[in-house]
């Protein structure tokens, strides 16, 4: 870890949705930290609670959901205790977010300049002209050609990749300390994805911005992140330095996830998969949430294992971790 204090430290975060059918524990005791200028990959299947974790940090969990416990320390302040007004002051300013679908994140009836300038003016007392200047510079920074003209365009006049660049530019307007990226490249072509990833990596390195990169795509995390946390059913099941986790996964779920990446299979061999689907979070049975899909499950899995340091610097939540030598890939 870094010598300096981490930018963000999430401790035992619990975000629950109080629905009529019962309490859905979308995030249930998640802890991790992100150092300055570091990229943290938050990986998991749909419904594992990774997006809700992101929304909890930026304070945009909509009712019936709310943060039911834990703390989110951002530069020493607990975000979970801030008022809505204080939180709004941080959003888009010190903490920014990028969404999954670039086709949907920009308002279709407002011009790009409107959407950028309002963001600048929401946090800085500057003239409209200065705000426009800032918007133009930022658009140029994320690689949009002739930003002056593009400012006057509407979102539908941009391609998906360009729209995501605009969204990233909006996130960067105030040089935030933390960016939460919720699967920002999932909806894009591979080539565009590569460009955006390279761009983001460069920006993080130069500005010292920390990042939480939420994704289900392990290959993206492998190239981009410093640390990784794997989520399953609202909990972190494994975390560590990205290279180590991917080379030698301890948790059977991480193991299965890595095995599911098609390029890792041998040609002609049937693709590997994790059987079954993520359990409903409404009535999670006691014990390890993964046990019904786990090839290693036993009687011992009926009691919930704790996240424990199994190898030096490596934590996993499993009673039967993969400790044997990694198989040759």
């Amino acid at each position: 870890m870094n010598m300096t204090a981490p930018t963000l430290e999430v401790r035992d975060l619990k975000t629950h949705f109080f629905t009529r059918a019962g309490v859905v524990k979308a995030v249930d005791g998640v802890s991790f930290s992100v150092g300055r200028g570091k990229v943290m990959g938050l990986v998991g299947e749909s419904g594992s609670g990774k997006s809700v974790t992101g929304f909890s940090i930026i304070g945009l969990v909509d009712p019936p959901g709310r943060i039911a416990g834990g703390s989110i320390l951002f530069q020493g302040r607990d975000l979970a205790k801030l008022s809505e007004e204080e939180m709004r002051d941080l959003r888009g300013n010190r903490i920014a977010m990028i969404f999954q679908d670039p086709m949907m994140t920009l308002n279709p009836v407002l011009r790009i300049d409107t959407q950028m300038i309002e963001t600048v003016l929401a946090h800085k007392k500057v003239s409209k002209e200065e705000a426009r200047q800032r918007a133009r510079d930022t658009l140029g920074m994320v690689g949009i050609p002739s930003p002056d003209e593009r400012l006057k365009a509407y979102p539908h006049q941009f391609s998906g990749g360009m729209r995501q660049r605009v969204a990233i530019a909006i996130a960067l307007l105030h040089e935030p300390q933390l960016i939460i990226a919720d699967e920002p490249t999932t909806a894009l072509d591979v080539t565009i994805q590569g460009q955006i990833l390279a761009e983001v990596q460069k920006l993080c390195a130069t500005t010292g911005t920390s990042m939480i990169w939420i994704t289900h795509d392990l290959s993206v995390v492998a190239g981009l992140a410093d640390d990784i946390a794997v989520m399953y059913a609202g909990r972190i099941v494994e975390k560590g330095v990205v290279g180590e986790v991917l080379d030698r996964p301890l948790h059977p779920y991480t193991h299965g996830l890595i095995g599911s990446v098609p390029s890792r299979n041998k040609r002609g061999e049937a693709l590997r998969q994790i059987p079954g689907m993520t359990p409903s979070l409404l009535n999670l049975p006691p014990g390890c949430a993964f046990r019904s899909r786990c090839p290693r499950a036993s009687e011992a899995c009926l009691t919930e294992p704790l996240l424990a340091e199994i190898l030096p610097g490596r934590e996993a939540r499993c009673v039967h971790p993969h400790l044997e030598a990694p198989e040759a890939a």
Partner: protein, 325 residues
């Protein structure tokens, strides 16, 4: 854009032509105006003279041809009853109906939009439930009954507002308008409100549905993630998107309000086109009926065109497409 307009106008022309035929045949089928117009004790010769004078002795297709050629010269016939050009009669009554319809639309927007917005933003609050329940009443209560109740309460019991007529009028562009004088406005308030009840409910429901739908969109969440104030998110990001369906429907509704303000005009004895058409139907004053219906068709076409143009102003995506054609 020009091509688009020309195409729209050609379509409009065809619609007008088809409509004129339907209206003409329809009115012809209703009955013989001679029975009503000529006194029962007139003799055969007098009858025939009258029939000839009105051009009713010709076969139907010839009557239609005469009507069409005259219509092309801007002459929609003379009223049997008033012995005045039908068009002139209708146009004299038009301002009254127009201002009533516009008044109703303005009521619908200034009452419906805020209530719908509130109900959409706080769907579970008690006040929202009251709004939604009342909007069902607005949809289902018959206009004439509500009109009578309004007269009972505001004119009879409270005595605040006059119950009938247009009151004093001011002159603008050579026409008489009630909204130019205080007395006229007082006369207009009740009928306009009565006419707008249905529209208020419509706007409330449309706005609420639009807000509920738009609030879930990613761009609203993104706008919040940018740290914008709730007011900015609601009134710029959400509002501009819900205006698109509201403008479309209210615009189209304006047409039917003008055309079907008959009931309200009758209840409040408002001397508009609606009252004229009812009187004309009662005495089978064919030229007036035909001219009125033709005028309404033209108006609907014009309103549709204006709505489409406004729509493209609000929605940049539509704007680009129409430029492309």
């Amino acid at each position: 854009m020009t091509v688009y307009l020309v195409r729209r106008l050609l379509q409009a022309l065809l619609v007008v032509l088809a409509m004129s035929l339907i209206v003409f045949i329809g009115v012809y089928a209703i009955g013989d105006p001679v029975e009503i117009l000529i006194s029962p004790d007139a003799d055969q010769i007098e009858r025939e003279r009258a029939v000839q004078a009105l051009g009713l002795d010709l076969p139907l297709w010839q009557q239609y041809a005469v009507f069409l050629t005259k219509a092309l010269q801007g002459d929609l016939g003379r009223s049997f009853v008033y012995n005045e050009p039908a068009l002139k009669l209708i146009l004299q009554r038009m301002p009254a109906t127009m201002e009533l319809a516009f008044g109703a639309t303005i009521f619908a927007l200034i009452i419906g939009l805020p209530l719908g917005l509130y109900a959409g933003l706080r769907p579970n609050s008690r006040f929202s439930r009251v709004i939604m329940a009342s909007s069902i009443l607005g949809f289902s209560l018959p206009t004439f009954w509500v009109g009578l109740m309004l007269i009972m309460v505001f004119a009879v019991y409270l005595g605040w507002l006059p119950s009938t007529g247009r009151g004093d009028t001011g002159t603008l562009l050579g026409m008489q308008w009630s909204f130019l004088t205080w007395d006229g406005l007082r006369h207009m308030a009740m009928p306009a409100l009565n006419l707008s009840l249905f529209k208020i409910s419509l706007v409330i429901r449309l706005t609420r549905a639009g807000v509920r739908e738009t609030m879930l969109m990613d761009y609203v969440k993104f706008a919040r993630a940018k740290g914008l104030s709730p007011a900015r998110v609601t009134f710029v990001h959400v509002f501009k998107n819900i205006l698109i369906p509201v403008v479309t429907v209210v615009g189209l509704e304006l047409g039917s309000t003008i055309a079907f303000s008959v009931v309200t005009e009758s209840v409040f004895a408002w001397p508009g086109m609606g009252k004229l058409i009812i009187d004309s139907i009662n005495v089978l004053d064919r030229p007036v009926i035909v001219a009125y219906l033709m005028l309404i068709v033209l108006m609907f076409i014009a309103i549709n065109l204006i709505v489409d143009l406004t729509y493209s102003m609000l929605d940049p995506r539509v704007r680009l497409e129409s430029k492309g054609t």
